[in-house]
């Protein structure tokens, strides 16, 4: 049986093959591994899961209970470095899962929800963790050169891969499920419209987009709102795809995709928008991003920043930083303020779409799981595991509030053309049509 399929949500079937223990040395080893497993459960807040070793030993929080229906089982194979796992579970758990030395029977998102309360292990184990885990540190810089490396690491791994599980417009940011019944496809369009309404984009407006992904928003603004858009991105693969679609959709006269860094944005615009780029900007560059907005935005202009964030300043976990998003950082509200306070922008509106991102990631994970076979053919088994862990962890992080999604709307301090209320954001909805809110 394919272990990847075994990990898939709600699959409940054991693949652990009990291995008989022979000599006393093996018994001691098993005793040591069992002790580490109990430490592991303890540091995860004693969740109701079962750790299963290759010899068939089952370690549960409540040792007296047996297997129950729906129990999530974590298979810890002999080649999993249990000392490292117990000492640094936040890094090692997703890492070993990617390596295949850990497998999960049951819902991975649910498991991650159960072990949310993971506390740092005791002092000795933590010291061991620093020694045996995380052999190298990721390069965290966000210089012009490093930014290209960071972005390429995640976004240049192949448009065909992303097409397998993103919506057909290739929007790789939080969707807006205006009503809970919306599909991912619809919710991504609703998100783009929500953003455009907040920005009050009108025909003839000049729009600058910083970090445009595959260009869906830029093309949507041009085709549905009649504005001219210049969109920046340093991902070569994304820009190539965006340009191709722009030509196919006959938007070449209104949209320009520029393969360049946000720091090099020049010109002037009525509306500045950045959806899902701030995470890659680097905290030390927030004020410079504010300077760019200040430089390009017309006096009556609006700027919208859409970003993953946190309630308190804290880095992404080490595994995400190293394996998924090198150089990325989810800012807290006060950290985001470093963009606009030095330049005296007025915060008009902040909306938190955390639960919409949990739902988005859940939709992505479902589509990803459906395409696992194709992904495996494109890459390999470890890649599939890594991405499943990343998507499941994202669902969980937004579900439990470890990550937030902030949309911040800005105007210049003296701009009195700002909307009187926010009612225009909801005027289009038929009173009886939407039951989701």
């Amino acid at each position: 049986m394919d272990p990847v399929v075994a990990e898939t949500s709600r699959v409940e079937e054991s693949v652990a093959v009990p291995v008989p223990v022979a000599g006393s040395s093996a018994r001691r080893a098993t005793g040591w591994r069992k002790w580490l497993c109990r430490r592991l459960l303890g540091s995860a807040g004693n969740p109701s899961v079962c750790l299963v070793l290759d010899d068939g030993a089952e370690i549960r929080t409540d040792a007296g209970t047996g297997r129950h229906t729906g129990e999530i089982r974590v298979l810890i194979h002999d080649d999993c470095p249990l000392l490292a796992l117990a000492a640094d579970p936040i890094y090692q758990f997703p890492h070993q899962f990617s390596c295949g030395t850990i497998e999960v029977e049951g819902d991975l998102v649910e498991l991650l929800g159960l072990i949310n309360d993971a506390r740092p292990p005791g002092r000795v184990l933590a010291m061991v963790g620093r020694l045996v885990s995380r052999p190298w540190r990721v390069q965290k810089g966000t210089s012009l050169w490093r930014a290209r490396q960071n972005i390429s690491h995640h976004y240049d791994i192949g448009n065909d891969f992303y097409r397998l599980w993103l919506d057909r417009r290739m929007v790789y940011t939080c969707a807006y499920y205006e009503s809970q019944e919306l599909t991912l496809e619809q919710a991504q369009v609703a998100k783009m419209d929500h953003v455009c309404r907040k920005l009050e984009i009108e025909p003839g407006d000049t729009v600058i987009e910083a970090g445009c992904g595959w260009g869906a928003l830029a093309r949507h603004i041009a085709s549905c709102y009649g504005a001219r858009v210049r969109a920046f991105n340093i991902s070569r693969e994304q820009i190539a795809w965006a340009r191709q679609r722009m030509v196919e959709e006959g938007l070449s006269d209104r949209v320009e995709f520029v393969e360049d860094d946000w720091r090099n944005i020049r010109g002037r615009c009525d509306k500045f928008v950045s959806v899902g780029m701030l995470e890659h900007v680097g905290r030390r560059n927030y004020s410079e991003l504010g300077s760019v907005i200040d430089r390009v935005l017309e006096p009556g202009g609006r700027a919208l920043i859409h970003s993953i964030g946190r309630n308190q300043p804290r880095h992404f976990d080490h595994w995400t930083e190293q394996r998924i998003f090198p150089g990325a950082y989810p800012p807290s509200p006060a950290e985001m303020a470093r963009i606009f306070e030095p330049h005296c922008f007025s915060v008009l509106d902040v909306e938190n779409l955390r639960l919409h991102y949990a739902r988005t990631c859940r939709d992505w994970l479902e589509r990803f799981d459906d395409s696992a076979e194709a992904v495996r053919e494109m890459f390999d088994e470890a890649f599939v595991r890594t991405w499943r862990m990343y998507l499941a962890a994202s669902v969980n992080a937004f579900q439990i509030g470890g990550l937030q999604l902030f949309q911040v709307l800005l105007a210049r301090e003296r701009d009195n053309t700002v909307p009187w209320t926010r009612r225009h954001l909801y005027d289009h909805i038929e009173k009886s049509a939407v039951s989701g809110s």
Copy 2:
């Protein structure tokens, strides 16, 4: 003619009596005063206003032009210390206006709008300013004892005074003109409803209000939303009035007004609300305010903070701090974050109601002007001038963006009962009924 009436908006009638200059000493004095007037205009960005000295001399930015229709004239009497005014105009202008040594012919709000761009005077004059102006510094503390002094200074000067020009419910915070046609009375009710909708107040909820003014919101929540409210305030006069109205409205079983400091709030609540108190809390106490919210709020609760703020950290001007709101401070968004980030609250929603406060202050100023005679009888001429300056300066500050009004809605990090969208804030409005937004 009563000089107070002369200052009233849009009155355009000179009260300056030209005094003939006699000897060369007087001429020199006049030359010196004229030079200071030109410095004054220069430091105010050379606005299109006319300074008039008691000898009839008129100083304009463009010396060649004469008086034109609608020109605002600032009468600077001989007893106005012009050196102090030129050296420290931001403090001395409202101060001398209060003293009556400066009078304004024309719209005071318009004048303040024209001199927005006041820059600090040159280095020498600024040094002089420090010597001759601001003889004493205000006590800025916000200790328990000092807070009572600060609040009493502004809010205990007589309920009869505030009844002259506030709405009949006595709401002394930014109104919400859901539609531009609303009166002040209606807009204050709309504000309370907007706040209640954001907080999702339901029958049976327990609500704690910190800084309740004359208790209008507490009574509104109890009477219209069926919740139980405990409301705190350290202003003796306000609490007395609030209790009287509570009894009259038959709400004694659902509302409790507590004459105590927010720091002493105990118990638990489903909803925590504070409208217009944060300005008096003191920056160093923001984290403690967060601790209080953290201590009292139930897991699924909501908290709303409504406060004057700024786009960048900056104190109120010295005159406002000294004469109007001792110890008060308008926080920037990042400063407000010190309330909720240490306690890991999620920011669900931030709305900026700056223009609504400009409109509110304009309505107050109009009512105040209509009641000037009664105010003069209660207090004196200087009091009338001081309050007119304060209200006009407030209109102007919100109009030009020097002050902002932030409504921040908070929830606990793991609370997944937060609303899916913000549409419920606008559902009650008939699509065709409101033309204001």
